[in-house]
């Protein structure tokens, strides 16, 4: 009986008793969710255009951040390190297309997924070989620290993260909608075979989407690296992106943002108001529980494409 009270009644009593605190938790959750979205976007870009679930996206976040901070520690100015890292991510896209994807044309999706698993381990090892296993401090002058807005405490870095994510989503939406390359990518996403039949070069498409995912990974790496320091745990943020993808849909750029907001808000509110009744540290599985419920009723996610296959 007591358990039922702590789960069904007490959280709402607490929320009603201190609504300002509830808003603070909710705001913190929404801002955290946007940071998850930054990682989820990279998954979406590749999946949307190639139906490949890129397991290496989390490691790409780490690798890009390591490349950047490693060069800066060697004395390179930030702009140069940023430019070089962008170049490396473009090079990585070419290498992945040439060495991994091209030899696997016509293989099933699960084989390509396994290949990305290999890419993940390779990049993690390469990153450590090049830059060591230490924690690196990334200082790009991004504002951080507490800020009180209308009595609500927020972190400046989270606000910057939200702004960056907003810009990124807008840019990607415009890119997909209004550029010729974007149209090509959408065509490939709609129907590979049809796109190929009208002369869309699949190899080029793959390079483009992996480049875009690499650059998004760099942005995510900068934001997460500024927050936590650049360290190997960064690759684990991909775990936070998975429920976001399930919620938002694997093929929707706005879905990644909305999914991130829902996951961030739910896990924080769940942790604070329902966590004590459930033993604490619930935020990890709370997000997956939510994703599981969504899967039951809407397998394609909120904004994903409904796939109907007739046999």
């Amino acid at each position: 009986m007591h358990f039922l009270y702590t789960v069904l009644i007490d959280p709402f009593v607490q929320i009603a008793g201190d609504p300002r605190f509830f808003v603070e938790v909710l705001t913190g959750g929404l801002l955290t969710g946007v940071m998850y979205s930054l990682v989820a976007l990279g998954f979406v870009i590749i999946y949307k255009a190639s139906r490949v679930f890129n397991f290496a996206q989390g490691t790409m976040v780490l690798f890009a951040a390591l490349m950047l901070v490693g060069q800066m520690e060697m004395g390179a100015p930030a702009w140069l390190a940023l430019g070089t890292t962008c170049g490396v991510m473009v090079g990585l896209a070419f290498a992945v297309e040439r060495l991994v994807l091209r030899p696997m044309v016509n293989q099933s999706e699960i084989i390509l997924f396994m290949a990305t698993l290999g890419i993940s381990f390779f990049l993690e090892g390469l990153g450590q070989l090049m830059w060591g296993g230490d924690v690196h401090t990334l200082e790009l002058g991004i504002p951080s620290g507490p800020l009180t807005l209308g009595g609500i405490l927020v972190n400046k870095l989270d606000l910057v993260g939200a702004a960056v994510a907003g810009l990124l989503v807008t840019a990607l939406a415009l890119f997909f909608r209004w550029t010729s390359v974007g149209r090509v990518l959408r065509a490939v996403a709609d129907d590979h075979q049809a796109a190929l039949s009208v002369g869309v070069p699949l190899k080029v498409v793959w390079v483009i989407v992996w480049t875009m995912a690499g650059l998004v990974a760099l942005v995510a790496g900068i934001m997460w690296g500024s927050s936590l320091g650049v360290q190997f745990s960064l690759s684990l943020v991909a775990l936070k992106a998975l429920p976001v993808l399930i919620l938002g849909g694997f093929t929707s750029v706005p879905g990644a943002i909305v999914g991130g907001l829902i996951v961030g808000a739910t896990e924080k509110v769940g942790e604070v108001f329902w966590g004590p009744a459930l033993g604490g540290a619930v935020e990890n599985w709370f997000a997956y529980l939510l994703a599981l419920i969504f899967l039951l009723f809407r397998p394609q996610g909120l904004f994903g494409e409904r796939i109907i296959e007739r046999v």
Binding site: D18, F21, E24, V25, G28, G29, T32, E124, G125, Q128, G133, D134, V135, T137, E139, S144, G145, P146, L153, N155, S227, L228, G229, Q231, F232, S233, S235, L236, V237, K240, E267, K268, E271, V272, G275, G279, G280, A281, V282, E283, N284, W285
Partner: protein
């Protein structure tokens, strides 16, 4: 011509055989130490300096002293990546290496040590959990092959509360104060809870606990709760990225760093450096001294790094986890030295070295001889007491370096000992273990 060829062949064979015999003889005079390390993965920033410090001390002993009692120490590293299954795999792979098998094993992981607890007892190989693992394994009658010196998490919790009390003007002043624990949601993180709850009953402080899900990348919810609670002190049992994230989040809610105290696994440079200036003032308990000023560390620089060796970069020598690796190796090799005094200066088995661990009496005088005064806390391990009664210091981050800010603090072992014993006996009952009678063990040893 044929005779010449035959003679050359015979000489060559003799030389080869001589080299082979010499090599085998040399290999026979080696003491093998398996090294379960993690130099990759999310916990590598913590695993690397510890592994480096440990290996560098063994190299120092070989280079400066020609091993322990003339027996060269050899070691082989196996990468666990802080995974329990890999830890067990590494242990199984290395336990039969060397002329006498594994001397002891230090997994540097509470999870791996839990996984190895029964295996090592069955294999008669000492399991060293220096400042980690099961606290109740300090009770030797139930855990003959497990050692927890110089202090357990329970002792760490007690020492931190003593420090907090001293800052408040006395332990009696803790009544009514709020103390919160932020902990890694794992067996490791939960270790101090029972002690802190018991102490809260004794001293009257209000105790709250906040679990952080692994790996601890995101703690916003936890720290908003702490902001609402407004505790007088926050304690932390974290590991890896959880530590630096916690320090940053504490700063983000404006929590005073001088009232934030971590356990010794939340007390290294990688734990505070990512937080930058925000981490200044943060405190942590430690079971060793800090820095490179100690003669033993200077010897490592001279005999190991000075001759082109060494596992770390010179700048890392003297960091918290590097020093802890050195200290761990000091304790282990001293136990070997003691075992050699009884069984002879030759490679010993794990079972023989266990005797050395159970008679490890590292006095202040011996520590000074080792060049480690202030770095190592004296311990006296016995058949019954595998913790050895080591002490704890508190250190503080000044924005660039850790500085020790207290002398050694003695945990209240009388209370802790009752807790160790009760918990160990419950474990023995559950597992059907008959506790040893240490008076008989000691008598038989004489």
């Amino acid at each position: 011509m044929k005779a010449w060829k035959g003679a050359i062949g015979v000489v060559a064979a003799a030389v080869a055989a001589g080299l082979l015999v010499g090599g085998v003889a040399e290999a026979q005079n080696e003491q093998f130490v398996p090294r379960l390390v993690y130099r990759t993965g999310p916990y590598a920033p913590n695993g690397i300096p510890f592994a480096d410090g440990y290996a560098d001390y063994l190299d120092l002993v070989n280079a400066r002293d020609r091993g322990v009692g003339g027996v060269k120490i050899t070691y082989e590293e196996c990468e666990t990546a802080y995974n329990n299954d890999k830890g067990v795999e590494c242990y199984e792979r290395l336990k039969h290496k060397g002329p006498t098998g594994a001397s002891w094993v230090d997994p540097l992981s509470t999870g791996i040590s839990y996984a190895l607890l029964e295996r090592t007892a069955a294999d008669k190989i000492p399991l060293i959990m220096m400042g980690y693992g099961r606290a109740d394994a300090s009770y030797g009658p139930v855990f003959p092959y497990a050692f927890t010196y110089p202090a357990t998490y329970w002792a760490g919790a007690d020492a931190i509360i003593q420090y907090v009390g001293s800052q408040e003007g006395g332990l009696d002043k803790l009544k009514g104060k709020k103390i919160a624990l932020v902990y890694h949601d794992s067996a490791y993180g939960k270790e101090p809870i029972a002690t802190l709850e018991k102490l809260s009953q004794r001293y009257g402080y209000q105790f709250s606990k906040f679990a952080v899900a692994h790996p601890g990348l995101e703690q916003k919810a936890t720290w908003l709760e702490i902001r609402r609670l407004r505790p007088n002190w926050v304690l932390m049992w974290g590991w890896g990225v959880m530590n630096s994230t916690a320090v940053k989040e504490a700063a983000a809610i404006g929590y005073p760093m001088t009232h934030f105290v971590g356990i010794w696994w939340s007390a290294s440079e990688p734990d505070v450096e990512p937080a930058g200036a925000a981490g200044k003032g943060y405190k942590a308990a430690n079971i060793t001294g800090v820095g490179a000023k100690f003669p033993v560390i200077q010897d490592i620089l001279k005999y190991v790094y000075g001759k082109g060796g060494g596992h770390a970069t010179k700048a890392k020598v003297g960091e918290v986890l590097y020093d802890r690796g050195v200290v761990n190796a000091i304790y282990d090799t001293e136990a070997l030295r003691i075992a050699q005094a009884r069984y002879g200066k030759k490679p010993l088995t794990g079972e023989q070295i266990q005797w050395g661990f159970e008679h490890l009496n590292l006095t202040a005088g011996r520590i000074k001889q080792l060049g480690a005064a202030g770095l190592v806390t004296p311990i006296h391990v016995t058949c019954t007491d595998h913790e050895g009664g080591g002490d704890v210091k508190i250190q503080q981050w000044d924005g660039h370096h850790w500085k020790t800010i207290t002398d050694w603090i003695k945990p209240h072992r009388r209370m802790l000992w009752e807790m160790y014993k009760a918990s160990a006996l419950a474990y023995a009952k559950e597992k059907g273990i008959t506790p040893r009678d240490c008076s008989k063990v000691e008598a038989a040893a004489k």
